[in-house]
Symmetry: C2
Subunit: 215 residues, 2 copies
């Protein structure tokens, strides 16, 4: 049911709409105009209308958007109306933090965690036992796994990503400090989370701000 | 020494250049042409030349770039030539994961961690004791803190962000599930890390890929 040729930029904004609409509903607001949404999100009303028109538009002239319907529709577009089974590869601090994060409320259920450290074997993270990495292929064969989150050091990430894709995983949420999308087959989707890159952007913006003020 | 009017898009690509140049140096490569860098980074050579020209360009015709010099220069632009003191507010799973991440190798030194949970009081994360949130203003007054990472629930994040800025913090690395830049003063820089948004983009791309294949 997806429209063709929706730009990456629009897609990348949808989770934010989804989040804001959820907040509106939480605060009891069920109907909102593009103008009010614009005010809250600091995006122009025309941008909002354009973005949402990509999906047929869910607004009615003079009425605005029904926040519930709109959020449901965006959720469907994002695939959030189905539960996605996810495994976490790398059960160190970051892996355990993701395991504890609560992504299941957005439709991402963690069903397995893996590591190479024998000291972690069997430890429970929110009820999920940490398994050894060599058990992963069999686990994937026996369970329906859609997404693998990679929270392992850069050096191990390429080999593990290949093992994952060899075993049929098509979606990798990559928190390793490298760009896996460049080395994996085209029929595998990768979303990179580069924490250090983000921190560097913050650092740049802070020093740019200070220089501006010093002038 | 920053050039004026560099686009956000260019800035957002600099950490990636910095990372790739570091990898080149690690593997013993000290000189690289824009063509070779293009091959590795899957960005056009002309994009690379354009991006780096924003900063005066560090390449020499027929020689290429000196990876070491270029990385140092990009590091300076990003402010990575100085050590930045950072505190982490919220010492739950994600806060502790960030505390253990090792950002100091990029110039970000964690000097304090804070939480409201008395059970965490005094626990050490990489040698840094977790302090109670009400000690934070005094800590900031007594230490030189540049950046605060926020790893707390959304509902608490606005009040804590205000306390931080009231106490002179100008840079917030926001992992709370809300857009703090919309509510904070203009002279505070915010970089949002929205993990759920990222996971939703992955989910969208996976279902778009599957639909494409089904056709």
């Amino acid at each position: 049911m997806k429209e063709k040729g929706i730009s990456k930029a629009v897609i990348s904004r949808l989770p934010r709409y989804y989040r804001y609409l959820g907040e509106l509903l939480d605060s009891g607001i069920e109907r909102i105009s593009s103008g009010e949404l614009s005010e809250r999100m600091k995006v122009t009303a025309s941008q909002i209308r354009q973005d949402l028109n990509n999906f047929g538009g869910f607004g009615q002239q003079g009425y605005g958007y029904n926040a519930y319907v709109l959020r449901e529709e965006i959720g469907k577009i994002l695939g959030l109306d189905k539960m996605h089974n996810m495994i976490i590869v790398g059960a160190g601090h970051l892996g355990q933090a993701l395991g504890n994060y609560g992504f299941e409320k957005n439709g991402f259920q963690i069903i397995g965690m893996f590591d190479v450290d024998p000291a972690l074997k069997g430890r429970l993270v929110r009820g999920i036992p940490i398994r050894m990495l060599d058990e992963m292929p069999q686990f994937i064969a026996e369970h329906s796994v859609e997404i693998a989150a990679l929270t392992i050091p850069k050096d191990a990430s390429i080999e593990v990503a290949k093992t994952l894709t060899d075993n049929g995983i098509r979606a990798i949420w990559n928190c390793a400090h490298t760009d896996l999308n460049l080395i994996l087959p085209k029929d595998v989707v990768v979303e990179n989370v580069h924490l250090s890159d983000s921190l560097m952007r913050l650092s740049y913006n802070l020093s740019a701000l200070k220089e501006e003020e010093a002038e």
